[in-house]
């Protein structure tokens, strides 16, 4: 009943190909955006904005990037952390070398640089597949982190190898990095970047390039036979995915933590983003957001839930329970719906469509 599309007629191709062809979707998205842009900044505490929403947004972007590569093009990569580090360190070098350059361009350039690195490390994908490729991307993971940690130039010769974000403004008076930026401004900036890039991604996967990726994912040999060039498809997926991940890394370093060392992007970060993509749903833009929300928020909620309901619990035990519950939930979700939370939403939509007459 809620999702009935009867009566919504498409009279033009344009209407048929709209991103959200159904009225209910349009309303839903409008409501979500209104909440994100209006309600949350107005009512949420600083803690909610800077410790929950910011990492959620940054991780959504990173998950989106990995989803393009893994979910749409089928190339398994465990180098996400290193590509985030590329974005962060490139952005740091660019913005300290050209302090006048607007931070948006800095981020775009950092993303472009990461894309180039991604393509380079994507080259083995032309020959290596599956888990073997995953472990090959680990070479990128370990090498890049080692390099950022080892070569002082990347940190402008800081004695400890930590970079801290210099104060930068997008528009005069709208500072988004550095200590003077308020959580609300940071939130708006991150939200803006994520919305624009998510829209772009949504359109990309519906276009020709997205369909070539999916053809490669579903069976690369068959795709090659029907005339898709695997090299162009795979490397473009690596490039665009790395671009997204690079921008996410720059956001992480500049807008979220404002100070970062190379080790913050270690292999665990790669796994974290991989979880998001798989739990959220492979090959789904919405899934990237759901997965990020799950992996970012769940540990924090588990950690605080007993205190919120008045149970005093030993910190260590709570820490262990957090791990156990997270692990168990990952398995339970995979068993319940191997295609991720995005698929659950889809099923839910189907049900809503028929409700209250399920047969």
């Amino acid at each position: 009943m809620f999702y009935r599309e009867a009566g919504q007629f498409k009279a033009t191709y344009a209407a048929d190909q709209a991103i959200f062809p159904i009225l209910q979707d349009k309303i839903g998205i409008a409501i979500i955006l209104a909440i994100a842009f209006g309600v949350i900044p107005a009512f949420a505490s600083d803690y909610f904005l800077s410790s929950l929403m910011l990492p959620f947004l940054v991780f959504s972007l990173a998950a989106l990037g990995l989803n393009i590569l893994l979910g749409y093009c089928g190339q398994l990569s465990l180098g996400t952390g290193a590509f985030m580090a590329c974005g962060a360190f490139f952005a740091y070098k660019i913005t300290t070398a050209f302090p006048e350059l607007n931070i948006i361009f800095v981020f775009l350039l950092a993303g472009a640089g990461t894309a180039a690195v991604g393509v380079f490390f994507g080259l083995p994908s032309l020959r290596i597949k599956g888990f073997y490729l995953a472990v090959a991307t680990l070479a990128a993971q370990f090498f890049l982190i080692w390099m950022f940690n080892k070569v002082d130039w990347w940190t402008n010769f800081s004695p400890s190898g930590v970079i801290s974000a210099p104060p930068r403004e997008v528009l005069p008076g709208f500072a988004v990095t550095g200590s003077s930026a308020t959580p609300v401004d940071r939130y708006y900036f991150a939200l803006g970047v994520v919305c624009v890039l998510a829209l772009l991604a949504k359109n990309m996967v519906r276009s020709r390039i997205g369909r070539t990726w999916m053809a490669i994912r579903d069976m690369d040999i068959a795709a090659e036979i029907i005339g898709i060039r695997p090299m162009a498809a795979k490397l473009s997926a690596f490039a665009i995915s790395s671009f997204y991940i690079g921008v996410a890394g720059a956001l992480w370093a500049f807008v979220y933590t404002s100070s970062v060392e190379a080790l913050a992007f270690d292999i665990n970060r790669s796994f974290q983003v991989l979880f998001m993509v798989i739990i959220g749903g492979l090959g789904s833009i919405l899934g990237s957001f759901l997965g990020a929300a799950f992996i970012v928020l769940l540990p924090i909620i588990i950690n605080q839930a007993p205190a919120a309901v008045g149970i005093v619990m030993d910190t260590a035990l709570l820490g262990h329970i957090e791990f156990m519950v997270l692990g168990a939930l990952i398995i339970i979700i995979l068993i319940a719906e191997p295609h991720g939370m995005a698929r659950l939403w889809q099923i839910g939509k189907e049900k809503l469509r028929l409700w209250p007459f399920p047969h």
Partner: protein, 444 residues
Amino acid sequence: MNFKRLTALAVATVIGAGAFWASQPAVAQAEDEMFIPLMVYRTGPYAPNGIPLADAFQDYLKVLNERDGGINGVKMTWEECETQYNNDRGVECYERLKNNGPTGAAAFFPFSTGITYALIERATNDKIPVFSMGYGRADASDGRVFPYVFTSPTTYWAQADAMINYIAQQEGGYGDLDGKKIALVYHDSAYGKEPIKTLELLAEEHGFKLTLHPVSHPGLEQKSTWLQIGRRVKPDWTLMWGWGVMNATAIKEASAVGYPMDRFIGVWWSGSEVDVRPAGDQAIGYKAGNFHGVGQDFGVVQDILTHVYAKGQGTGPEDQVGEVLYNRGLINMFIITEAIRTAMGRYGDKALTGEQVRWGFENLNIDQATLERAGFDGMMKPIQLSCTDHEGGGQLLVQQWNGSEWEVVSDWIEPNGDLIRGLYEASAEQYANEKGIALDRCTS
């Protein structure tokens, strides 16, 4: 998955999230209670080191409340937050706890160099002191540039200098360092890299040759490093900036290549019982720096045993009381509570804000009488801080493991204060320059 279960799941999630949101505003507390946030790591790869520290924090606060009724009648309250020694969890903990209690958090002490770096700007902005005792950003000892960061009683740079001083003493004087070889084995992270610049400078000045041997996290596999040191470089002395499992492994591997243990000196984070016990007899003779005494023969430790453990309220196992990291946790809490006490002298006996506690830190003067009153006599040196000097001392002890306990084998070793201060100032001024911070805070 059927629809009913799905709906139930969704409803549960919404309720959970709602409860979570609602729980956010801290419950209003009485004015005569002062909130101390405890950032701890009781899980994860560094838990063995984090547990005794965390237990000591609570025990000291408990003994203050039990024995003295708090500080000047103001009771201490606290809440632990698990950071897993992980920078982003640390930031989350900071944001979660900073507004708790009637006046917000008194001071943060993350016991992680990485988290300290992540907090410096945030805390300065929020006007909450960050107390990084013997870790963190060394040049934050310059109070002109880092008004909210305190490194007392010593930093990695001062320690590196004091260790070279100790080596010079052993060799017969600074003149005898010429031509000697010193190796540095370090955790390849922000923490481990801190002393390199100081050591390089000293190497140039005194003519010894410094070789660097990074060990990547977590340091389970150090065969190459120790073959290099033990069989190739054969240095006269080896210094180690290690943490966690890296320490015990390094001691085992050093012994396996036959490196003499009494010429192997660890930083104070490489000199606790958990680092040497697993290595068994191989660790006998191993040395480590420290800035406080070890054992139970101190007034405060006895007080904790009688007022807390005897009543069955101890936080951890009783046999860890008096261990290196436990005593360090006590000293950490002692300095913070003394800063609060100092600040109360000016602002009155009530819960204080972070800004007021900062004033207490800058005017902190822990003299011999204070040490005796609080039972820290013999455990640490007096400390006096000022607006410019946030370190106040920098002395080092060298301790040696005899197979069952740590023995102090040196007098207090003074670092070269002028040299180190010059390094702090140069580095802090560069930071101030980058960030556009004026340097006249303490003069105007």
